[in-house]
């Protein structure tokens, strides 16, 4: 049986504060790796910040902000192989960018346009899961199914602290553990489920403690430390590939932005606390780390940001250039072989619409 590690109470950290807390390092990461991780963080940050603007400009619909969650996404994906599968929630809507998915695809998804459909097999990125935690069993099944086929593929499922209250999380985690499926259960604990704080979500001391009940290791990392996230995920993936089953990672951060564009957290979050958290947001901390190592100049940082913003400009232009979806798209993909009624329904619809 898997060794049950007690949850590590202290958050694992690599990045110091430039003062009392010294910087650590992650063995095996080259300077190129460190800079590539930086590009990933900036790409996600640019996506998120521009999406908020696009929403305010009426160019995308309701959008789930992931500002200060970038380190959890980039750090964990960097620890995966290309064939490993990613199961995102809406908080990780743009995670496919790290696998080469076009910006316009993700923006189209938030524009409610079928151009936001993607083929998961193209990127090994599953569709964005909107209902909370219901994709955890999918990741368990994919990982188990790959293992049954003798492949070494892993899966990672992303979910928030609130999801750990859901039945699907429990059923998926238990399934994964029993089947010893090579899966990483990645919890981004930003301490808020819309307006519900963590202490109203669980009586457990830490979310990682839940792992004990499944007979799997639970670890806690600083979710704003991209290197700690990378290292913890790399260890979890190594365990998974070695046939030792799932690991639960609790990455702790603080939601420093509204849940989504339709949310006003001033009703329930202390703004002073948010400002405090913004001081230690993940991209700024990582850039400071790289600067201390002498790996990042102002010019280089600006160039990375400019490139990411250019991708966004191209992406929104491409998304907005999509023609309005034809009504036939209602019917064309619900079944492999559409029932006879679809043909008459579409004909009737076209007649009424005059389209």
């Amino acid at each position: 049986m898997a060794q049950v590690l007690p949850a590590e109470r202290d958050l694992r950290r690599v990045i110091g504060d430039g003062e009392a807390v010294p910087d650590g390092e992650v063995e095996g990461l080259s300077e190129d790796d460190l800079l590539e991780l930086h590009r990933w963080l900036v790409r996600l940050r640019a996506y998120d910040e521009r999406s908020l603007v696009y929403h305010r400009q009426g160019r995308i619909g309701t959008y789930a902000i992931f500002w200060n969650h970038e380190a959890m996404q980039a750090g964990s994906v960097y620890a995966l192989d290309r064939e490993d599968w990613i199961f995102p929630s809406y908080r990780e809507s743009a995670i496919g960018l790290l696998r080469g998915m076009p910006v316009s695809t993700v923006l189209s998804w938030w524009r409610g346009h079928p151009a936001g459909w993607w083929n998961p097999l193209d990127f090994n990125v599953a569709s964005i899961c909107v209902p909370i935690g219901t994709h955890v069993p999918h990741a368990a099944g994919l990982a188990w199914g790959k293992k049954l086929r003798g492949e070494s593929t892993c899966a990672i499922a992303y979910f928030g602290d609130g999801a750990t209250s859901e039945g699907s999380f429990h059923e998926g985690a238990n399934f994964a553990a029993v089947m010893r499926a090579p899966v990483v259960l990645f919890c981004n604990n930003n301490q808020w489920a819309i307006s519900t704080p963590l202490e109203a979500q669980t009586a457990a001391e830490t979310l990682a403690d839940k792992a004990v009940g499944y007979g799997i290791p639970g670890v806690r990392v600083d979710g704003a430390d991209v290197l700690a996230v990378y290292e913890a995920t790399r260890e979890a993936v190594a365990r998974a590939r070695a046939g030792e089953g799932p690991t639960f990672i609790e990455a702790v951060t603080y939601r420093s932005a509204p849940h989504a564009t339709a949310d006003d957290p001033s009703a329930y979050i202390d703004p002073a606390r948010v400002e405090e958290e913004k001081e230690r947001e993940c991209l700024g901390r990582y850039e400071a780390y790289l600067r201390r190592l002498g790996l990042l100049s102002d010019e280089a940082a600006e160039a990375v940001r400019a490139e990411a913003l250019e991708r966004m400009r191209e992406g929104i232009a491409a998304a907005e250039a999509e023609p309005p979806p034809d009504p036939s798209l209602l019917f064309s993909h619900a079944y492999a072989e559409p029932p006879a009624s679809f043909e008459s329904d579409l004909a009737e619809l076209r007649r009424v619409l005059g389209a």
């Binding site: 459909w117 993607w118 909107v130 219901t134 069993p137 994919l142 199914g145 059923e171 399934f175």
Partner: protein, 322 residues
């Protein structure tokens, strides 16, 4: 041909299909070591191994949710829900993912899974071992639903479901698992989804039924002097609408029999189609004989709930005398 009970026919389908296609696997509670509480999966674990006939944790949403992931890994999982009324936790996965996933990938990914379960009453079982939940399943876009009424169809429809590129829910009349025997083709046997079956021909009145209500319709027809046409719907979705309209047009008088509660049940859909498309063929109102809009009752009073020969005969007399 060999003569099998309905549950033996299901087991026969599994043996043939797991042998034919190495991607087909069976999963559920007690399906492996025990061979299923009704023995529908008996012998599969010994023959095909514990990785293709999997005893799962007791978790219906976990079973169907992990089946979604198994499809992504190239498997064709057949999930057993142990009982009709225990299947409801899986509705979350069915509604939010199983019926939508193909669509949200723009048709690029297939989810060829099957959910099958025993359904229906009359077996004198404890509460919640006897529901008729087909309407919940039929109402879910992106899934197909079949309900066999004979051993041959139980084998043929399950085989079609396993081979279908889309998710299919199969409800099996548990009352007839062992009480009904019939001729079943040996080897591969497919009853295509979407084709109703004329059980018997008649010219006075048409009884429309599916699953456990088909033998009841036959018993009622035997008790009547009128000439009765019986249509077995077999696939509730996609519905064989042509067969329904033809059977209605033939007699002009239709009685629909459904074990589930009346309101918004599947019979209401059939009646609505007849109202929309068969008005000029009808000579009497379409009448439904259904369960009542009450919780499925304890077994000492379930006979009062279930559609009976007497209630069907009464309904037929009403439409004949209209």
């Amino acid at each position: 041909m060999h003569e099998l009970t309905l549950v033996e026919a299901i087991n026969d389908a599994f043996h043939v299909e797991l042998d034919r296609d190495p991607d087909v696997m069976v999963m559920g509670e007690d399906v492996g070591r025990a061979g299923g509480v009704f023995r529908a999966t008996a012998g599969l674990r010994d023959r095909f191994g514990p990785e293709r006939c999997v005893d799962t944790p007791l978790a219906e949403a976990g079973i169907l949710g992990s089946a979604v992931g198994l499809c992504m890994a190239g498997w064709r999982p057949v999930c057993e829900m142990q009982y009709d009324a225990f299947s409801y936790p899986c509705l979350d996965q069915l509604i939010t993912h199983v019926g939508r996933y193909r669509w949200r990938t723009g048709g690029k990914m297939a989810f060829p899974l099957v959910v099958r379960m025993p359904y229906g009453g009359g077996v004198r079982a404890p509460e919640l071992h006897d529901d008729s939940p087909e309407a919940y399943y039929v109402h879910t876009p992106g899934v197909k639903v079949a309900i066999p009424s004979t051993p041959a169809d139980a084998k043929g429809l399950l085989t079609a479901a396993i081979r279908d590129p889309d998710p299919v829910v199969v409800l099996e009349p548990k009352l007839h698992y062992r009480t009904m025997r019939g001729e079943v083709p040996e080897g591969e046997h497919v009853v295509p989804l979407g084709e109703a079956r004329v059980v018997r021909e008649g010219h006075d009145v048409t009884l429309v039924a599916y699953g456990a209500m088909v033998p009841l319709a036959e018993a009622a027809a035997d008790a009547l002097e009128a000439s009765v046409e019986i249509l077995d719907i077999r696939t509730l979705k996609p519905l064989d609408e042509d067969a329904l309209l033809a059977a209605a047009a033939k007699t002009g008088r239709v009685v629909i029999i459904q074990e589930a509660p009346r309101t918004a049940g599947y019979g209401a859909e059939l009646a609505a189609i007849l109202a929309e498309k068969a008005m000029l063929d009808l000579r009497a109102p379409v009448v439904r004989v259904t369960g009542y809009d009450v919780p499925y009752p304890y077994w000492q009073i379930e006979d009062a709930y279930m559609p009976s020969v007497e209630r069907v005969v009464d309904a037929v007399q009403k439409v004949l005398e209209f």
